[in-house]
Every structure is written in C-alpha cells, then in structure tokens.
C-alpha cells in the first residue's frame, strides 16, 4: 500500500504538509470506525485505504466490524433498498430482527473511541452506547427519496449523534444535528487506479477471452438491481443496431448483499443470445478492474440510485468518456457535456453511448476534463483532509475556526 508521501507526486508536497498539520491537531484522540463488512463494496474499500493513511498522519485510527447473520443482512439489504426509494415489503419482524442483532452488537462491541465513526445503517443502533465521547454517523446511501417508515425508524438513532455526514447535497434534510457534505474518493495509487502497462491490460482481456476487435462498452458494478445491469444491456442492444461494439458487465458481490447472485442469474439470462456480451463475475481483484476500465472505449454507470458512484470517479481518473445516470453523487462528478454525459433512461444512455463511439475526439476531451475534475475534488487526499476537519468540527462549532 502506498505511503502518504507517495501522493506528493500527484497533488503536490504542500498538500501533504497541510495534512500533517491537521493530523497534529488530532494528537491524543482515538478515532474508531465501525461498519458491517471488512471487504466488498465502497465503504470497506475506502476504509481499507483511509485507516492506514490516517494513522500515518498521526491520527490514532481503529476499525471494527459488527457481526450479523443472514437474517440480519437480509433485513439491512431491504432497508438499503427502501432508503433508496425502492418498494420493499417491510414488516414488524424485520425491525425486531434488526434490533435483536443490534442488541448483541451493543453488548459485544467496545466503543472505546474518543470519536466513534459509524458507517451506514447497519451499526447505527450502537449510538445507545454513547457516553461523553463524540459520535458521527456517515450515510453512504442516496436518501433523497427514502421509504419514510425506515427513515423514521433510523431518525430515532440519528438525532442522538453529534453530526451526520452525507455524500451529496440532495441527501440532506432538516436535522437537529450538524450535517456535513463529504463526498467519498478514489485512491490514485491503489491497484484499481494506478497506471498500468498495455501488457497487463492485454493479459486481462486474454484471460477473459475478450478481443479488442470492436469497441468495448463496460459497466463495472456489483450485480445489484439498483445498478440496472439489465438496463445497460437494453441500451447496448439499441447501440448495436447502428455501431458494432461489445459489452462487458463485470462485478462482484459483497458479504452483506444476499441478493447479488439472483441478479447475476437474471443478467445472464438476458445476455445469453448475444456472444458480444461478456458477463464477468470478478473475484476481489482490483488490478483486473483497473485493466478492464483502461481497455474500455466508453464506461457506463447506469444506476437507478447511487450513494455516490465511485466507479464514475475511477473511470474519469483514467480519462475515459463516461455515460452515467443523473442520480445520487454522479452529477457532482460529471458536469453534462463537459466531463461526461448524463442520462435519465435506457434511450438516453444508448444515445449518449452512440454519440461517444462515433465522436472519438469529443469523447477524448470529455475524459480529459473529467480527469482534471477528479484530481481537484475526488482523490483520497481531499477526503483525508475533510475527515480530519470533520473530527476537529466536533470540538469547534463556529463557521470560522482558528487553529493556532
């Protein structure tokens, strides 16, 4: 894993020096992150990078994971879908299951941090253990139009936190606690985003039996209905009538997502008649994801809802032209017709893909602008700074804080 000094070549030494200054202001504080899975999904991915880097900056950072059985994660997946506005049948027993597992975690997890940083709804009930320490709740989900029954259930917990953090302005609502906007980030030096040689890219394509004889359109995402993989196939089929191309749908599943394999089967069924559609169930292999993104001519993220959509930042960092839905945190990353193309439907996605495949110079310019935007706003160094400022805000309530 890259050390903090290695980022200086990308963002400048002064940025790293400033991060160290902020780290010094947090000396003596223990920051304890708690989430529901150590691998898979965006939250675990970010924490895997953030925790060692925060430690290197002098912030005593720990990471604990709650426990939960299949029943619990089925319920939290339902909550997740419902918070994204999807219709879900949620019954009283679901809330009971949630509280039973939460109670076991309340009894077994030691919340020793000076700052306890809870990620997403799964561990939210741990707030019952709050004493004089500071508690943060980080919502990584698009809650712009949530199922109110679930949201109100969570609100009983949220209001007990010191502050909440959301990834996009549209997710905020009036709360009696402070709430901050902190979009997530990508790590430019990780296996998923670092520069790769053409040999590595070619070897990954060979491994999955993908020939570079026609343009590659790709969506890399968990097999999840909210990522609309079926919609991507429909958009591709419309493009294919006019431009010969191939589609790759690649992704894995997360430990806390029991629905993933079911969706994968539906996608395979939809794709089985077209030999130019490649469905890849990737193991946790970031280098392969990186290579596939770099091999693509157009990268798609046609999500129906999106907490943030880090795959868009990953694609733009590689200066690739992107077609993505205008949902969640995606419009923060893509300014339409400047750093990518936004869409609202299958038809819109297919039109945008066609446009990019037939106008390579335009596609290139969008990709270049996108990379610059990601460099300025969505790299892990910005995220580290925001988190340290967030921790400092717990001890300073003013709008202008002088740290001498």
């Amino acid at each position: 894993m890259a050390k903090i000094e290695e980022y200086a070549s990308l963002v400048g030494q002064a940025v790293i020096d400033d991060l160290r200054l902020l780290g010094e202001r947090l000396k003596g504080k223990v920051v304890q992150h708690i989430n529901s899975t150590p691998v898979g999904g965006g939250v675990a991915e970010i924490l895997n990078r953030m925790v060692p880097l925060l430690r290197e900056l002098g912030v005593d950072t720990k990471w604990d994971v709650i426990r939960g059985g299949e029943q619990f994660f089925n319920v939290t997946k339902k909550f997740h879908n419902a918070l994204h506005g999807r219709s879900e049948e949620i019954v009283k027993r679901d809330f009971e299951i949630f509280m039973e597992t939460s109670q076991q975690n309340i009894e077994s997890i030691d919340t020793y941090g000076d700052i306890v940083f809870i990620h997403d709804p799964q561990p939210i009930a741990l707030i019952k253990k709050k004493t004089s320490n500071k508690w943060l709740w980080r919502c990584h989900i698009d809650v712009s139009d949530p199922n109110l029954r679930v949201w109100e259930f969570l609100m009983d917990f949220i209001v007990q936190y010191d502050s909440a953090v959301f990834s996009a302005p549209a997710f905020s609502r009036k709360l009696p606690i402070r709430q901050f906007l902190i979009p997530p980030s990508i790590d430019p030096l990780s296996d998923k985003n670092k520069e790769l040689s053409q040999e590595i890219i070619n070897s990954v394509l060979k491994k999955y039996d993908i020939k570079k004889d026609k343009p590659i359109v790709i969506q890399i995402s968990r097999f999840d209905r909210l990522k609309d993989p079926v919609g991507v196939i429909e958009a591709y089929l419309q493009v294919k009538k006019y431009t010969d191309c191939q589609l790759i749908l690649a992704g894995g599943t997360a430990e806390d997502d029991p629905e993933g394999f079911k969706v994968l089967e539906e996608v395979k069924e939809k794709a089985k008649k077209d030999p130019d559609i490649h469905i890849l169930l990737l193991p946790q292999n970031d280098l392969e994801v990186n290579a596939l993104q770099r091999a693509a001519d157009v990268i798609v993220q046609k999500s129906l809802k999106e907490g943030f959509g880090l795959t868009v930042a990953e694609a733009l960092w590689k200066a690739k032209p992107v077609v993505a839905s205008n949902v969640g945190g995606i419009p923060l990353q893509i300014k339409h017709k400047y750093s990518g193309l936004l869409c609202h439907s299958v038809q819109g996605a297919s039109f945008a893909i066609k446009q990019l495949l037939s106008s390579p110079a335009y596609a290139k310019k969008l990709g270049e602008n996108g990379r610059e935007h990601i460099k300025n706003n969505f790299l892990i160094t910005r995220h580290l700074r925001d988190y340290m400022l967030l921790f400092l805000s717990l001890y300073n309530s003013e709008d202008i804080v002088h740290l001498c």
Partner: protein, 205 residues
C-alpha cells in the same frame, strides 16, 4: 468544508426568501465554491445562484445579471447578499411569469454553508524573493484563503498579499498592482501564476 443545512428551494420566490434568511456562510459558499472546485478551467458561471437560475429554471436573463454581479466591489457578505436579493427582487417584479417556474424533483437548490479552518502552515516569507518561492509551493487552498477569504469573510480592506506587501515591505506600487485585478475572472492556478509573474517582474526591477 461544506456544512449542509437541509434548506432547499424549488422556485425563484423560495430561493429569494432563503437568500434573505440563511447564514452569511451560505451566501459565501454559493458565490465561492466554484473557485476551489474548478482550479484549472471552469465550466460553470461564477456563482451557484446564477447557474441554477439559468440551467434549471431557464431564466437566462436573470442568470446573466447575477453572473455579472461584480463580487470584488463588495467588502462584506451582507452587502453581497443584499445585491443578489435585490437583483432577484427587481427581476421578479418585472417578469411575474418567472414566479411560475419550478425545479423538477432532484434539481432543487440546496443551501450549503462554508466552514473554514484557519491554521498556520510551515511556509514563512520575510522578503519578496522568499514570498515568490513560497507562492510556487503552497496549496491552492492557501492562495484561496489569502485572496478571497481574508478580504470578504474576515472583512479585511484588501487581500492578504497586497496588505503584507504594502504594510510590511512598504511597496505600495506592487501592492496596488496585486489588489487591482479581479480574481473572480480567473482560475486559482492562473491567479497564482499572475501574482508570481508580477512579483518576479518587480524583483528583476
């Protein structure tokens, strides 16, 4: 960093009402955010109100009037807020149909406020030579703070660089040069390069 307020507007009338009542830190955020987010080239008009009114409500004329509000002329957020509010008020009076337009779900204007943390960095300059070397090294955030935030948010008479050059080095001519250009019309990297060029020219004589 950005603090969310949960306040949102879907019409011009709601936007105006909230502009009048939100904290000054919100007005500051929505007239300065673009500077830090687009450091090299800027695809957006220089304030969020103008962008939303033009792109979401389709009121191009009012958008243009707000884009051209000369922020450098205002020495306090209070004055800037009044100018923005009165520009919208006059437009609403002259174009009553604009009251009927509203943003689609998901395209509302969300009010955000800026929270600033000010801390000394490791970089110190005692003369122009050191100053120009430090200017080349410091983060864009430091440039931003000394040019924009010090003047408008901390209500200093000019930007920090011009103030220091005049009062500590006694070079009024150079100070005037640095305080005379409009920093809102360039990106932060261009601004850094402009100041470096002006100071280097002065050093050579």
């Amino acid at each position: 960093m950005s603090e969310l307020t949960g306040l949102r507007a879907t019409t011009l009338g709601q936007l105006l009402a909230l502009i009048k009542e939100v904290p000054g830190s919100c007005i500051y955020h929505h007239t300065h955010r673009f500077l830090q987010q687009h450091q090299f080239i800027s695809p957006e008009p220089p304030n969020d109100f103008a962008y939303w009114i033009t792109d979401i409500l389709g009121e191009d004329e009012l958008g243009e009037r707000l884009v051209s509000v000369d922020i450098i002329q205002y020495s306090t957020i209070r004055d800037l807020r009044e100018k923005i509010a009165s520009t919208i008020e006059v437009y609403l009076k002259d174009s009553p149909l604009s009251k009927l337009k509203f943003a689609r779900s998901g395209e509302e204007f969300h009010f955000i406020k800026s929270v600033s943390f000010i801390l000394p960095t490791i970089y110190i300059a005692y003369d122009l030579n050191e100053f120009v070397e430090v200017l080349k090294k410091i983060t864009i955030d430091s440039i931003y703070f000394h040019i924009f935030e010090a003047r408008l948010r901390l209500e200093k008479p000019t930007n920090d660089f011009a103030f220091w050059i005049e009062n500590s080095l006694g070079d009024k001519k150079l100070a005037n040069k640095i305080s005379s250009f409009d920093p809102y019309t360039s990106t932060l990297e261009d601004l850094r390069n402009n100041i470096i060029q002006i100071v280097e020219k002065r050093i050579i004589g």
